[in-house]
C-alpha cells in the first residue's frame, strides 16, 4: 500500500517544506519593513510578499486533492512529476510576486498548467474506478 503512494507523499512533504519556507520569509519581511503583528498592511514590498504566501495557501487544498486523486486513481509517477512542476511554478510565482505584482503572472500560469494536467489524470482515474465499481468494467485496461 505505502509503496503505491510514496512518491505522492514525498512530493507533498516537499510542498509542506516550501510552504513553511514561505511563511518564514513573510516573518523576516515583517521584521525588515517593521510591520508589527497583527498588522497586515505596511510597505508595498511586505504586502506583496504576504499576498504571494496567501495565494499559495488558497490553492493548497486544490493542489493536494488534485495530486492525490491523480496519483491514487491513475498514475503515481506522472502525478508526482506534475506535482514537482507545480512546486516549481509556486517558487517562480512567489519570487516574481515579491519583485513586482506583474512578476507573479509567469509562475501562476505554470501552476495553472500543472493543476489542469493533474485534473485530467484525476478525472480519468476516478471515471475508470467508478465504472469498475458499478459496472465491473476496467476501461483503462481495455484502452491500453
Amino acid at each position: 500500500m505505502s509503496e503505491d503512494t510514496v512518491l505522492l507523499a514525498a512530493v507533498s512533504l516537499l510542498f509542506a517544506c516550501q510552504q513553511a519556507y514561505f511563511a518564514n520569509l513573510v516573518g523576516k519581511c515583517r521584521i525588515k519593513y517593521k510591520v508589527i503583528p497583527p498588522a497586515v498592511t505596511g510597505s508595498p514590498e511586505f504586502e506583496r510578499t504576504l499576498r504571494a504566501q496567501q495565494n499559495c495557501i488558497e490553492f493548497s487544498a486544490i493542489f493536494l486533492i488534485d495530486l492525490w486523486t491523480a496519483g491514487w486513481f491513475c498514475n503515481q509517477e506522472l502525478a508526482a512529476l506534475f506535482g514537482l512542476l507545480y512546486i516549481y511554478g509556486r517558487h517562480t510565482y512567489f519570487y516574481g510576486y515579491v519583485e513586482s505584482a506583474k512578476g507573479r503572472l509567469k509562475g501562476f500560469s505554470v501552476c495553472k498548467t500543472s493543476l489542469i494536467l493533474l485534473l485530467v489524470l484525476a478525472l480519468t482515474g476516478i471515471t475508470n474506478s467508478l465504472f469498475h465499481k458499478y459496472f465491473h468494467l476496467n476501461l483503462l485496461k481495455k484502452l491500453f
Copy 2:
C-alpha cells in the same frame, strides 16, 4: 482499496474545482472593481467576494478531514452525500455573500449542518475502530 474511497475522491475533486472557480471569480472581481494586487480592500462588492472565498478556504481543512474520516471509518456513501450537501451549502453561501453580508447566513447554516452530520459519522467510525484495535470488539457489527 481505491474502490472504498472513489466516492470520497470524486466529491473532493468536485470541491477542488469549486474552490478554483471561486478563486477565478475573485480574480474577475478584481478587474471589474479595479482592485490592483496586492490590495485586498476597495469596493464593498469586492471585499464581500474576497471574504466569501477566504471563509471557504478557512473551512476547507475541516471539511476534508470530516469527509474522509467519516467515509473511511464509517460509511462512504453517506459521507459522500453529506459532502455534496456541503458543496451545495458553499455555493449558496458564496453567491449569497456576494449579494449582501446577510446573504451568507443561509448557506452557512447548510454547511454547518453537513459538517455536524459528517462529524457524527466520523466519531462513530473512529470510536468503533479504536475499540476494534485495542479491545478486539466490533461495536457497529454488534449493533446492526
Copy 3:
C-alpha cells in the same frame, strides 16, 4: 488498513474541531467588538484574534502532510503523540495571541518543535520506503 491510520484520523479530527472552535471564537469576537463582515480590521483585540486564527489556517496543510506522512510511513503512535503536542501548541498560541502579540511566541515554538519532530519521522519513513521500492532494501528493519 484503517487500523493503521485510526490514531492519525482521531488526531486530525480533534484538530478539525479545534479549527472550528477558533473560527467560532472569531465570529463571537466580531459581535463583541462590532466588526461587521466583510471588514477584517477594527479593534486591536479583534485583529489579534483574527490573525491568530489565520496563522493556524496557514499552517494546517503543513501540519496535516507532516502528520500523515510521519504516521503512515514511519510510526503511527509517535506521529499521533507529536500531533497532540501540535494541537496543544496551537491552543497556547491562540489564547496567548488573543492576550497580546508577544503572547503568541511560546505556543508558536511548541508548534515548530512538533512540526520538526514530525518532519524527521516523515523523512525517515519516506527514505526507507523509497529504498524499499527501488532497491528492495528495508533500512529501518536492518537498523532496529
